[in-house]
Symmetry: C2
Subunit: 192 residues, 2 copies
Amino acid sequence: MNLPPLCEAFVLHFGEMGSRWGINRTVGQIYAVLFIAEHPLCADDIVERLGVSRSNVSMGLKELQSWNLVRQRQVHGDRREFFSTPDDIYAIVRTLVEERKKREIDPTLSMLRELLMQAPGTPQERHAQARLKDMHELIELLTNWYADVQKLETERLIQLLSLGSKVVKALEMKDRLFTVPGGKTRSTNHNS
Amino acid sequence: MNLPPLCEAFVLHFGEMGSRWGINRTVGQIYAVLFIAEHPLCADDIVERLGVSRSNVSMGLKELQSWNLVRQRQVHGDRREFFSTPDDIYAIVRTLVEERKKREIDPTLSMLRELLMQAPGTPQERHAQARLKDMHELIELLTNWYADVQKLETERLIQLLSLGSKVVKALEMKDRLFTVPGGKTRSTNHNS
DNA sequence: CTGTATTTTCTGAAAATTCTGAAATTTGAG
DNA sequence: CTCAAATTTCAGAATTTTCAGAAAATACAG
């Protein structure tokens, strides 16, 4: 691997981590190299840095593009294609979450919905449906939260995340302010 | 696979999904079977339902236990060991997040911290460190949010998630209430 | 302690995946 | 259009993962 030690350490770790996700090691490494690169790189730059075959890099880049995690760029006066990751790391995370949702959550949600429509034939199926219903509700709660929060501009999102659970206390205070003294505390609704 | 159609569909899907995570197909299926089971199951029950080898089930259960995703239970007057998933699906998700954090995020954070301590030798390394710093800050923001929110009881958590981004508006209102008219709007701080 | 039920570990075979070099295709300059 | 540079596809080799069945270990009743 043709990289300074610090870069190499990062790339190796990222490769390992990648393989704990569905992504294979090389694809993870390609991404890491692009992430820390000073300029967009062409495929042969990556070959040189990682010491893997040209075809392997080609496949890896194709995979990363299918995830929208790398963009293809033109360098003036150069016929080759160059690749880079977005500079904005928040944008990267948004993409990552979006894509994983699309590939893992959405299909699961449709599966669950479909199975919940069926009439259970046995007590075993009836019980299974009850469990599936719990799972479905939780996933809906989470995806609705995500869909909502995902619309915020980064600045707002950071604000929200920084607050963490303090939000709950803040809202209690607000509730107290707007609730008739002695009346029942107005509960927050549970819709998206 | 010896299961009613509805259960089988769920188990198969879960197995597929499992293999997109690091988990292998059979382990995913074992989990699914336990998740929808009416009672705790012993290893042979799982063998019968999934039609895989006894040894495979043994390995799979061991793996799931290492993730704290299944618990081992005793059935009165039976020498065999039985397994089940927690009833509370929120608890399940908490465990899942906790374990993934432990295995993926925490090691990444230490790696990043370590590399950020090093003195960059080349401009290339200097630039890499800048990128690593961005990544480190974002991960810290997210894990701090998680650490904070994770402490909430489920009821509160649901409340918080249900609100989604409406929280931001609510807080703006609160800010307005407590800000001196004409003064600069007090910004919310960015610490955990 | 003995014998049986149960679980775990081990081993090699089968399956899946990752990866490479070669061949085929695409792209664009001249 | 022609040619060379660049990229992609492909077939099979190398590697890794998964899996079943055998063997070993463990637990426990009597």
